[in-house]
């Protein structure tokens, strides 16, 4: 066998996928190349903590190439486009890279410019995002200097990475302003395009309850058409307005820009349509996608990428061996939701089962949909597991790819 597997993107999916695949064949049989435009691997869950001084940017970034096992080639160069007809990746340095299997793992990018006014006057002064390193660091300084007023947290539209992060931001802001003794001077409002606090009914109700307990006002079905930084207001397409002194905005997301330059590869937003159970591209059998880059109906989250990893690796192997693919990815997602004061909730769900109360992974595990100190410790501990177990492609004890049903309380049991 003399094959080449190319990963576009050296983040969570590209790294764990390449590392797991590397074990399957000797280097002389299968070449594995990971391409990325930069060498900064960001532990993205850490971005949430930066504005509150609970993490520093340098702690959450490591070199991408250090996370890749021996025998994997790392190329730091932007992708110009993919020609799916000739199985070729064209790179911006003018070189071409042929592939037998292509894995699109280039995540999602923020497209701030798609929202009128967002990057206009006031951007990075009173309008921020914590969804990238520069924004999270700048927001830290702005929060430090904030002595009171109206703070809004706004999601422009779905899909976004980690749909619970904006809620966590609200909960942590409540905690942060209490610590500083100025909570009574701060009006906190969460402004969402959804019809509730979250996308799934049981969790949405529970999270809306928590918002109320913490004094966070909820504005729903608000489709942000314009961010007016100098006037300090969000304007919805239907004419509604929300005033602010400080806005934390989660911008629109899209797939990596080269996807749009690659006819047949992606959808209107630049995500790659794949079979939701096998992760194989609907347009080309030798293309797969993992993580945020994949257009599948589940959250864009690291846990999803992690759980997809097993199916992806197995299917790349099967494709090269000419075997039928494994259609076992079930949409499993698992998210710790930081609620402040050293506590967190945990939610666990898949394509068919919404987040339910109970325990994870079994009836004696971590409490689900309920605040606990244990979940907070779990969230903190995860950062170490991420670098040392998840990225190298080790199995996490007790954490399987498929969603565990035992431990969950279904409607009848509640």
């Amino acid at each position: 066998m003399d094959k080449r597997i190319v990963f576009l993107g050296g983040g969570t999916g590209g790294t764990l996928g390449a590392n797991r695949l590397r074990r399957l064949w000797p280097v002389e049989d299968v070449e594995i190349v990971v391409v990325d435009r930069n060498d900064d691997h960001v532990y993205q869950p850490g971005l949430l903590f930066v504005p509150f001084g609970l993490a520093h940017t340098e702690e959450i970034v490591r070199p991408r190439h250090h996370q890749l096992h021996q025998g994997i080639e790392f190329r730091q160069v932007p992708v110009e486009r993919v020609d799916i007809a000739t199985d070729t990746v064209h790179l911006e340095d003018g070189t071409a890279l042929g592939y037998d299997v292509l894995v699109v793992a280039s995540g999602s990018i923020l497209v701030e410019e798609e929202t009128e006014g967002l990057t206009g006057p006031g951007w990075m002064e009173k309008v921020f995002t914590f969804y990238d390193i520069a924004g999270a660091a700048a927001l830290h300084d702005a929060l430090d200097a904030f002595d009171g007023g109206r703070m809004v947290v706004n999601v422009v539209d779905m899909p976004i990475k980690c749909p619970v992060a904006p809620l966590e931001f609200c909960f942590l802001a409540d905690w942060y302003f209490q610590q500083r003794g100025i909570r009574d001077k701060v009006e906190l409002t969460y402004v969402t395009p959804l019809d509730g606090a979250f996308t799934k009914p049981v969790a949405s109700k529970r999270l809306a309850g928590l918002m109320e307990e913490k004094g966070v006002a909820l504005v729903t079905e608000f489709n942000t058409g314009q961010v007016d930084g100098s006037g300090g207001r969000l304007v919805a397409y239907d004419g509604r307005q929300v005033d602010f002194d400080l806005a934390v905005v989660v911008p629109l997301h899209g797939g990596a820009s080269y996807v749009a330059r690659s006819p047949g590869l992606g959808d209107e937003l630049g995500f790659v349509p794949v079979d939701e159970h096998t992760l194989q591209s609907v347009s080309s059998p030798n293309i797969f996608a993992i993580g945020d880059a994949a257009g599948v109906p589940t959250s864009k989250a690291g846990s999803v990428t992690h759980f997809e990893g097993e199916v992806l690796v197995e299917n790349v192997r099967r494709f090269l061996a000419d075997e039928p693919l494994d259609a076992s990815y079930d949409g499993h997602a698992n998210c710790f939701i930081e609620t402040g004061f050293g506590k967190a909730l945990l939610i666990d769900f898949n394509y068919d089962t919404e987040p339910l109360p109970g325990h994870y992974p079994t009836s004696v595990g971590l409490p689900l949909l309920k605040e606990s100190r244990l979940n907070h410790l779990g969230k903190l501990m995860f950062q170490t597991l991420y670098w040392h177990s998840l990225l190298p492609g080790r199995d996490l004890p007790g954490v399987g790819s498929a969603m565990p049903a035992r431990g969950k309380q279904t409607e009848s049991a509640r």
Partner: protein, 105 residues
């Protein structure tokens, strides 16, 4: 499962009034559904969006979100809100007899 009657025919809808089975829909039902959504008479541009929604659903199995509509229908998001002030994707999907767009996960 609740039912609704449009153009003299009973159809299955969900709790929010979205069609469960898009094949039960006929063009004759659209004006009636629209009136229930506060649109007295469907204009040509509104019809254009409704037909686009149905075509997208037939091809992809899910209706487009507002953002995707703005990129693909030839009508900008701003104009879409002028046509369907209560939310283009949801209202147009309901009038077009397709399930609620599942873009929001």
């Amino acid at each position: 499962m609740p039912t609704a009657t449009y153009a003299g025919k009973a159809v299955t809808v969900n709790d929010e009034g979205f069609f469960e089975d898009p094949s039960q829909w006929t063009e004759a039902m659209a004006p009636e559904i629209a009136r229930a959504e506060g649109i007295e008479e469907l204009t040509e541009p509104q019809w254009q969006v409704i037909k686009f929604m149905r075509a997208e659903y037939a091809e992809k199995g899910t209706g487009p979100t507002v953002r995707v509509l703005g990129k693909t229908s030839g009508v900008s998001v701003k104009e879409l809100y002028q046509l369907f002030p209560k939310g283009p994707a949801k209202v147009a999907a309901k009038i077009a007899g397709i399930p609620k767009p599942r873009g929001c996960i």
